[in-house]
């Protein structure tokens, strides 16, 4: 048995040494997981900053530049009651075009409320008054403050309307035939699930793509450099050559996946996710299961890449075809990301989908079961074994060793 494994370890060791000296492969190995986790961290920090901004706007006094404040003192009073400090603004000339209104806003006055000169008379006569809120919608940081101003004006509007109806002996409920109340039952874990749905994609892409360049080089690259012929002429069994190369690629995937999970656990530990209403409770067992799930998927991905690399016309072709493989998890996960509640039991038998389900279940703290995990493992290992069998049978064929033009 040991004698049978020796050629396999010889091939795997050589591949490790070869990759270890290839700076590009090492860069992919370490930077792809880093990039994926950095993207997640950036997304979290951005959401957090947005959330903080909107909180800040609701809690703190707000300054609002008003043009023509003296024309509608009732509205100004309502704004002041809601901690909105009124600043006088330059009078906007009647009939000013929207393209010219830009000159009224700047860094210190990001938005202006314009009250028309006829407002007092219109109010007295019970007509609707057109007040104009001028702002730059591309500045996302002002959105919280603008929403607050809108809410105050809508509140004032509603209160005033109700008072007017009451003075005319009309019940205000008549204009609100439907009253909507919202009850959000989503638990923190469920909210986290929504937010964390992107993580399986990041993890699966890493498991899928880390070794793509290495695998493309292992057969297509070797054929181009004419080392595959020399390798095929040796008495080393085809199974040892194919498995040895696959093993080294898979081990490198394992290193990348482990590195990514370490980075991700650090991100979970340091990021103030609770401030986003997300509670992530991933225990050591969960991390181990996620790791094994990704290794399982990595095994299938590596075997597919080996097969592609064996049959590709040249190294470039192999790289292109293997890169296209990235579309498989992206399409699958994209679909499930937008239809999170769509689930059928046969999903457990579909590689990638089943892996995503397991990872998502564990990340969101839902209880996991052994059977779906085993189904997922089998769904990957059986095709992986079949592919490796085909690959080793094909290795010493003329087309694989010498290419299509042999």
């Amino acid at each position: 048995m040991l004698n049978r494994l020796k050629p396999l370890s010889v091939v795997a060791k050589k591949e490790f040494r070869d990759v270890g000296r290839d700076l590009k492969s090492l860069q992919v190995l370490f930077f792809l997981p880093l990039f994926m986790v950095a993207s997640f961290v950036a997304m979290c920090l951005f959401t957090l900053s947005m959330s903080k901004n909107s909180q800040l706007n609701l809690d703190q006094p707000l300054e609002l530049a008003v043009s023509g404040a003296e024309n509608f003192p009732e509205l100004i009073r309502a704004l002041a009651e809601n901690a909105i400090k009124i600043q006088p603004a330059a009078v906007i000339a009647p009939g000013t075009k929207s393209s010219e209104a830009v000159s009224y806003i700047n860094e210190s006055t990001p938005y202006v409320l314009e009250i028309p000169a006829m407002a007092r008379e219109q109010f007295a006569e019970g007509h609707s008054i057109d007040v104009n809120l001028i702002y730059d919608g591309s500045k996302s940081r002002d959105q919280g403050a603008l929403n607050r101003i809108r809410q105050v004006i809508w509140g004032f509007n509603q209160r005033l309307g109700q008072l007017r109806l009451l003075t005319r002996n009309v019940a205000p409920e008549l204009i609100n035939p439907v009253s909507l109340h919202e009850t959000n039952l989503a638990s923190e874990e469920k909210m986290a699930g929504l937010f964390l749905a992107s993580i399986p994609l990041l993890l699966i892409i890493t498991a899928f793509l880390t070794s793509s360049g290495i695998n493309a080089d292992m057969f297509a690259g070797e054929r181009e450099r004419r080392t595959l012929e020399a390798l095929a002429i040796t008495s080393c069994p085809s199974s040892a050559i194919v498995l040895g190369k696959w093993l080294s690629a898979w081990s490198l995937t394992a290193i990348a996946v482990t590195w990514q999970l370490i980075l991700l656990s650090c991100a979970f530990f340091t990021l103030p996710l609770s401030e986003l209403g997300i509670r992530v409770s991933v225990g050591a067992t969960d991390w181990i299961i996620i790791w094994l799930t990704l290794l399982n998927l990595g095994a299938l991905a590596c075997s597919l890449q080996v097969l592609i690399s064996l049959h590709a016309r040249n190294f470039k072709d192999a790289q292109m075809l293997i890169s296209l493989m990235a579309a498989i998890p992206v399409i699958t996960l994209g679909y499930t990301l937008f239809t999170p509640d769509f689930y059928a039991s046969w999903f457990n038998w579909v590689p990638i989908v089943s892996h995503q389900i397991i990872i998502k279940t564990l990340l969101t703290g839902q209880p996991w079961a052994l059977i779906p995990i085993m189904q997922s493992v089998l769904a990957s290992l059986i095709p992986c074994g079949l592919i490796m069998y085909i690959a080793q049978k094909r290795l010493r064929t003329t087309r694989v060793v010498y290419g299509r033009n042999a």
């Binding site: 040494r17 070869d18 080392t227 012929e229 020399a230 010493r396 003329t398 010498y402």
Partner: protein
Amino acid sequence: MIEINNLSKYFTTKGGQSITALNSLTTQFNDGEITAVLGLNGAGKSTLMRIIYGLITPSSGDVCIGGYSITAHANQARRTMGCLADDTGLYIRLTAKENIYYFAHLHGVDEQTLKPYCDELISRLGMNTIAERRCEGFSLGERMKTALARAIVHQPHHILLDEPTNGLDVLTTRSVRRLLAQLRDEGRCIIFSSHLMHEVENLCDRIIVLHRGQVIADGNQAYIKDLAQQNNLEDAYVALIERQEITQC
């Protein structure tokens, strides 16, 4: 000994045209002999070599290497073979020594035998200065020396060399010649393909001239020269090819 029995190989082009690379070839390569296989481009040399390596399946016939059929017992046959293929590549991120060791390990050579023999090969091929250098940036001669050492590091009984002295300097060419002569004297079977007639003249005991997939001459140098009625080997080779072309026309 390598026996070629009624070997034929036909290729079909994309246009559906059939090309005969080897046509009912029967010959044998004896132990203790260096046999040169000569032929123009497209004569069938590479196809013959690749069939012997077991990487092209013959259309008919068989090759027996040391008693093992390459189609039925490829791995046993390959165990006795050391091959230097045409334009062979090296692992550029490995050193010359690591390349040689890798192939020795693939052939299952144990460490105790490997180290002294590898050191001897490195020394005999004048590779001492490049042995620990990575192969990236090697000259043609340095690549050839490494590939040659790699091909024979497991001390195979059957040695197939495609243009082994290509790109080598005079001193290394001489040491390769001496090495091959020694291997022949040890009783090994060596097949040698080259376009350099003086190399063939200096090294080979027997010459096989292939033309359009068939053997048109097979014998020692004197026989070939007699057959072509020429005084030197190059002229004899050219005359034989031309005669064959005229006959076929």
